[in-house]
Structure formats: structure tokens, C-alpha cells
Symmetry: C3
Subunit: 233 residues, 3 copies
């Protein structure tokens, strides 16, 4: 069984180290994959976008800790997806795009069973004390139903972004991530029917470097229309 | 058996990669946890503070390489703690707070047995050639007594910090670490009896963001007294 | 079997996470060592220099993805070395110094067998879809001959640097890497016969901090001659 970790903790920090150690103690046979660390502090939009990409790998337990609400009453969630993944993290919207990309919600529960937590539960580090222990117990064979009571999806915090839609022949898209190479990701999905100015007929969420020259941090772009007059997107 | 690595090497650098590889060759069954890398160059105070936090995880072999004296005659140490951990690194004081947090020293030895080292021993990378091979041999079953001769604790370099104590009703504390989120850690331990301005009755070494607005790198603060007149710490 | 990963992807990014996950799915028993990530974008000189250092560890499969030509017709390569390592990556010269350090080429092939790739093959991420799956299949027992057809070495892109040679009693050396501590690496190998100003008789590729004070990014230095008049190198 694989457990992936996606966090806004500092890369290769002791917080990350502790999370792996807690898992290793509970479920020594589970392989921990450090999927992404060092996301900008509390940037749930980037976290959501990056977590979405786990659809490219095999089904696993995915822990996502980008948690501006840690220590408050926000819900800790565990979501079983139709693809067979389990997505774990706080209820702040960051989990939804990944869950959708993994086939949607099959079962949704709030983590409330004290037996799946590490005690005492710190007020500031639920990654170590709630989310990773839960993932480890699940990897070690715990039944999903035992993490806590069911939650109705309608009461959850909404996703930080949804798919862009065309308006009057234009796409009003939003930058949801800029990577190390300057590639800019927009919230236009492959299934939206939009055409890419670079790969006509097959728009990709990987946008071109040209977009990157737009004045960030303006995060709403007119999707290159002016620059690609022959092939408006 | 678990081996944690804490270093001031660049995060995910080839130095770190070599250290894991050397361990993997000697003790393939040992799990390496990258506990913390990328500490500021030669910053033994941060290294000591971060290493202290291994008390939150299970007993393991902890290697800490923040080594301004590499290539000089400073001692390479292996310390068996009362909790059952083994702490390994150069004698520059950085190991002491962790050893104290792990129940204190049960046995202290200097690493001097050539059989536990990788040869030729580089003048600049004892992490690869001395500390990690020693950890790997211990994880693979080597008796602790075989790493080298006993050393008297009195001759070791002292810790880079000790617990703060109150003076005339004030705490003169020192900043021993600032994390990615701006949380500032002081050398006031939970057992010191100090009260936190934010969690009265239970001071934590996690200090508030307000402290963070003090002009760093001034590392001696009057611990918020002026700002929290109702609850002097 | 060990697989090392060296890339210019962001450290602990989802790209790195995906690469490990793809390997873990194909070859669960292979141990992935994150040898080096976060190399400057497309900096094949640094990549080559860093990859060279795998000669200090045990024979393994080494994947190096620093790939300015991704998506173009540049060749994906797999090189079996005389030491027994397999070096995998794009044909941009970055693999050559490592291959030379590992005893030279025993067999050279282009990765072209669709069965060793992940499909659909992305235009922008051959690390995930070509290089890592190939490494994983080899670690899982695939015969080296099955990765693709042989290639003649003469048609490969040359290395980004070669060993410096003396001219009129002087060494014209090039800085090929500067590490986190300011140590500057030159393209002068131990076997070149040059003497170090600091370790007379045994020049090391680790040059002194004094070199580091030269005005970078000038990458051709007169190798300290003026400063070390008594011991010209």
C-alpha cells in the first residue's frame, strides 16, 4: 500500500520527517511517497491543483495537509473515491478537485475516532497527530468505516476553484499554479472542449510560457486571446 | 530499525543522496527517514533545536551532521540514550538537547573503529564516510561497544543553548529557531513553569507570531513582556 | 536493486513524487534514492557534474532528467557501464562524465521499445513516461537489450565539459558547480597531475573558498595562479 504526502510544510523539514516516522511506526510495510512539500503557506489553491495530479499514479492513500484552519473546529476528512483511492485532509476545499479527478466520492467520513489519532493531539500539527496516523491505520488494514461518522457533502467547504467556462466566445480562466519552469496552469480542463493555441484541437492544462509573461499576480487572464488572434481559445 | 538524518546539506542534494546510498548498501533493511535537511550552513543552534524534536517519534538511530569542524580533530560521537535511541554526530554541542530529551546519556563513545568507517575517509564529508556508515553498521547489528572507546562527558563541547531561567520576574529567552510559517521557538521548555500569554498555564516552545515581528536577527528578546502586560512571562 | 534520481525538477515536487510512484508501481522492490533534485532549470553542466559523483556509491540504475530538449527528437538513452551501472536520460551530453567515471560504456542503446514506456507519453514529462518506467522495468528484471536498438557513440551530443588541460604552465579551468557551502568545483580531475595550492601533490576537484571570491558567473578562471604564486596550478 502506498501513502502519498502533499503539504505546505518546509521541504525536508522535521515536520515532514515526523509525519513519515509516525506512519512508519504504525504501518511499517506502507511505502511513503513524498509527493509534494513546500507549497506556499496556506495556499489551498496550489495544494488542490497539485493533489489533482495523483490521477497520473496508481490508487493510494493521499494525505494533503495545507491547513490554515488547524486548531479550529474545521473538520478532518477521509474520502473514499470511486477509483479506490482514499483522500485525507482538513475540510478547506483543497481535496475536491483530486476527488473529482479520481472518479468522485464513494464514501465521505469525518475523522473522529480517537483510536486513529496520536495522543496528545497537538493544536498546531494535525498532520502528525490526526491525518498521518489515520492514513497509516488504513494502510495497516483498518476498515474505512471506523475512521468516524459519515458527513453530508453539502456541508463541506467548496473547492478553491472550479473549471472555467466560456463566456461570449472567450475563456475567463484563472491561474491555479505556476511551476519551477514558469509553466502556468489554468483551470481549463481537457474535457472542456477548449482548443489550445499551440496544440489545436487538444487544449492542455499546461499553458505556454507566453502566458507566463502576463503580469502576475493578476490571476485572471483573458487566456491569450489577443496574442493568438488566429486561434482564440 | 529506523535511521533519521538531520543535516545542513542542501535539501535533496547529492550529499544527502550519497548518505542514504551508503546506508542502503551496508544495511538494506534499515529505513532511512530524511528528518531535516537544508539547515543554515553550520548553524548548530538550529540543528540542536530540530534534533530535539525526535522525542516525538519512536526510538531510532539519529544522525545529525551540521559540522563546522569537519576535517579538524573534533570528536565523532555515538551516544546511547536511556530511551533506547542512538544519537550520532560530531562533538560540537548540537547533540546534547536531543540526548537530554531522550532520557539522558546511558553510554557515550567516540567513533574510532576503522571498521565502521568508509575508506578512504574524506576530509570534508564525514557524514558519508564516518557517521552514516556507523549508523548503518549499528542498524545491521553491530554491538554499540564496538564503535570506539568511551569518552567522559565532561570533555565534550557544551550545548549551543540551555533552558532559559527567570530573572527578577522576567524571562530572558533566546530564539533558537524560526520555522517556515514564522513561528518562533524560544529556549523556554514546558517544564520551566512559565505561562504562555496565549495559553495561560501552559507555555509552549511554539511562541506567537507577535514575537516574530521583533527585529531579527536580534536573538535575545524580552519575551513579549511589554506587549502582554497582563500576563508577563 | 537501487534506482537513483537526479533532476532539475523542483525539490520534493509532484513531478518527483510521480516519478517515484511510477517506479514503485512497476518495481515495488526497487529502492528509490532521491540523489539530487532542484538543479537549475536545464543546467546540464551541473547535472553532469553531480551525476559524476555516483561513482562514490554502489552500482545502481541512475536516472538523470535535466532535459531542455523534451518533446523534440533528441534521443532517450540507456547506457550500461563497465562497473555494472545503467545510466538513463536524454541525449544532451549530461550522462558522459558519469559514464566515464563508472568505467566507460559497455553497451549503448536508444530507448525505443514502447513496452518500457508509460502511455500516453506526455510531450513534456519523459521523466515520468520514458526514463523512470525504463529504469523500473530494468530493476524488475528486463534484459538490457530489450530497451531498444544500439546507437553508435559517435552520433551522441558531446559532454558539457571535458577535463581541463595545462597550457604554457597554466591551467585554464572552468567552474562546473558551486555548492551550498560555496565550494567551487573545477573541471580538473585528480588524475590530471595538477597540484592543489592547498594540498600540494594531490589536487582535488574540491577547490578552495578563495576561488569562490572570483566574480561569478565568469566561468573561466585562471585557477588562482596569481594568488598562489609559490604553487602555481
Amino acid at each position: 500500500m502506498f501513502i502519498t504526502l502533499t503539504t505546505d510544510l518546509k521541504m525536508q523539514s522535521h515536520g515532514v520527517g515526523m509525519m513519515e516516522a509516525i506512519i512508519a511506526e504504525i504501518a511499517p510495510q506502507a511505502r511513503v511517497i513524498h509527493y509534494m512539500h513546500g507549497i506556499a503557506d496556506y495556499d489551498t489553491t496550489s495544494a488542490a491543483r497539485l493533489l489533482e495530479t495523483v490521477r497520473f499514479i496508481m490508487p493510494a492513500i493521499h494525505v494533503c495537509v495545507c491547513d490554515p484552519g488547524v486548531g479550529t473546529a474545521r473538520r478532518p476528512l477521509a474520502i473514499l473515491t470511486h477509483r479506490g483511492d482514499i483522500v485525507i485532509g482538513p475540510d478547506n476545499g483543497a481535496l475536491h478537485p483530486a476527488v473529482a479527478a479520481l472518479g468522485g466520492t464513494a464514501e465521505l467520513r469525518q475523522i473522529s475516532n480517537p483510536a486513529v489519532m496520536r495522543h496528545p493531539v497537538s493544536a498546531v500539527f494535525h498532520g502528525r497527530d490526526v491525518f498521518c496516523p489515520t492514513a497509516a491505520h488504513l494502510a495497516h488494514g483498518l476498515s474505512f468505516q471506523l475512521v468516524g461518522e459519515p458527513v453530508h457533502p453539502a456541508i463541506l467547504v467548496p473547492a478553491p476553484y472550479t473549471d472555467a467556462t466560456p463566456e461570449e466566445g472567450r475563456w475567463m480562466a484563472r491561474v491555479i499554479h505556476v511551476d519551477k519552469f514558469g509553466n502556468t496552469h489554468l483551470n481549463i480542463s481537457k474535457t472542456s472542449g477548449a482548443r489550445s493555441p499551440h496544440q489545436p484541437g487538444a487544449w492542455s492544462t499546461w499553458c505556454s510560457r507566453e502566458v507566463d509573461t502576463c503580469p502576475l499576480p493578476t490571476t485572471h487572464l483573458r487566456a491569450c486571446q489577443a496574442r493568438h488572434a488566429r486561434d482564440p481559445v
